[in-house]
Symmetry: C2
């Protein structure tokens, strides 16, 4: 049997309420005997007492709960992102519960499990579709997303400034003389959003992104990069793209491999860029030029929004930082 406050009270000949007060620090304020408090504390430690989280929550006490929704944990972005969420949430005194959705659009049972835990807020990590959000909104539970949400009802999104990010990348590449661009991503919210942004920025410079070079593939991110890279490298004619923008580092890793399979060398034949700047980007061959997502700041934003509660509005997108590595160079070096 688990040790309860009642057990401690009985053993010490005191009342459960006093034990509760002593153990939650509310006793001194009330004016309890310091010595009694100490006795209680000691006994609790001796018996290995741990408060029952379910009872606390039922009572409305205890730390507020954040339900984390992770849409695609196979994506290398998620580990670091969730790690950061865990770190910060823990420091801020939140309890966490994890829901991994098997499919990108969750089953009802996934959502139910979350609802039953009556979270203070839901934190969706990564981009995705929003239909599942409705029951939470109806109950007044804020749903904050780190990433891009699509569809109704809207989530409160903490975003990186994709406009800024691609502007940096395109400036770098255009400055080196690149004129023929391609884009590869997975067909999901991130891919679609970033393709839109990249295309617009290219057009502003009078650079075209023809449909056959704007690839959104219906697979996971790693596979999308691989296939997209291969597909581009197979393209006939001599007007190959000299630079490939990718929707994320995970995609870019696949593209690096894909174009290598097609016989292209990076960056001699083609320059490739990522987005996010995962730890892995530095280890790619060649190391990946990318744009660093300020993850810690974004998680902090998200927790602040959750703290603010229902009326919170999405903050300004966070500016990313260009990280130039070996995967980009002048076009057609050889």
């Amino acid at each position: 049997m688990r040790v309860t406050q009642k057990d401690i009270a009985r053993k010490l000949g005191l009342s459960p309420s006093l034990v509760s007060r002593a153990l939650t620090g509310r006793a001194a304020a009330i004016g309890a005997h310091p010595e009694t408090i100490e006795r209680i504390r000691r006994e609790a430690r001796a018996l290995g007492y741990a408060p029952n989280a379910a009872a606390r929550r039922l009572r409305g006490a205890g730390p507020p709960l954040i339900a984390i929704v992770a849409a695609d944990m196979e994506d290398p972005f998620f580990g670091p992102a969730i790690a950061e969420v865990v770190r910060q949430a823990h420091r801020a005194g939140y309890a966490l519960t994890l829901a991994g959705f098997e499919r990108r659009t969750p089953y009802a049972s996934d959502v139910d499990a979350l609802l039953q835990n009556d979270p203070e807020a839901v934190l969706a990590v990564g981009s995705g579709e929003n239909a599942w959000v409705r029951p939470f909104v109806e109950r007044g539970i804020p749903v904050v997303r780190i990433g891009v949400g699509s569809g109704a009802p809207a989530t409160i999104d903490v975003r990186v400034d994709e406009e800024k990010g691609f502007a940096l990348l395109i400036e770098l590449l255009a400055g080196k003389g690149h004129r023929a661009f391609a884009f590869v991503g997975a067909r999901n919210e991130v891919g679609e959003s970033r393709l839109r942004v990249a295309r617009r920025l290219l057009q502003k410079r009078g650079l075209d992104l023809p449909a056959r070079r704007a690839l959104l593939l219906d697979t996971d991110v790693l596979e999308a990069g691989l296939r997209g890279g291969e597909q581009l490298a197979r393209e006939e004619g001599r007007d190959w793209p000299s630079a490939i923008l990718c929707s994320s580092d995970a995609v870019a890793l696949g593209v690096l491999r894909g174009v290598a399979m097609g016989g292209w060398r990076v960056p001699e034949h083609v320059s490739i860029t990522g987005f996010d700047d995962l730890a892995l980007a530095r280890l790619a061959n060649p190391p990946l030029t990318s744009v660093r997502q300020p993850l810690a700041a974004m998680v902090a934003d998200a927790l602040r929004l959750i703290h603010e509660g229902r009326g919170a509005r999405a903050p300004a997108p966070r500016a990313p930082e260009l990280v130039v590595r070996g995967s980009t160079d002048f076009p057609w070096k050889c």
Copy 2:
């Protein structure tokens, strides 16, 4: 306010107990009026009722809880591993709670949070040190680990057959004519365990693994590979190792980059192998020869052990499967 069973009962002019029975399916067995049951169900749906998990747990009802402990979520192994755990646990009807430890040896507060949730079992994902396990063992809560645990008290470990894995890799390499081996890993349970295994197997073939080529670095896995690879590539003399065994794919990705920085080409100058066969292994440049960890089977083993409860004994290690890719070839091709 949340909708409770009492609300439904009041609205329908029934008692809370009948509502409870109807909603948990225990009503028909007792012999309640089918029509009443249907009315209750309908009303619950109409009001958007969701049972309160805290109340259920307090009562001792509701699904059993597994606490997941993830030691190092930045390691690319964790995303896929946790994804698999979530999938299977969900199907088996377990609720999950996540504890991310900030440090590999957790703070007391991390452990406390877990204890307070009174889990049915703890599932440690990935290898690590065992000191934090004591409070659970004392309370009779089984701690199952997917990976290698070190120190007391022992966890129930679901392991891949490392002996078999390295035997396959070494056989492949030795068969190609490699005689000079090196090993790179991070200084943690996985690295140490796999180095031991690899060294023993090499010795059985009369192959030496000199200390200067058996590298365990005090950093995270990605960084360990990077530094280890660089260090090996800097080695003077002409008796360079022709093959580098890595403790995991994550390490091998770093080594690929590290040796490239030292000017070595893979596999022309040196062959490199991973361990785990992450999705990323296929995308490395060159693609990584590795050994596939049967993750799904191992997670299934872990859940079975949890189901069996206290007396469970560790199952036989699962045999991995060799996956040969481009990072291994004959020695000194050029």
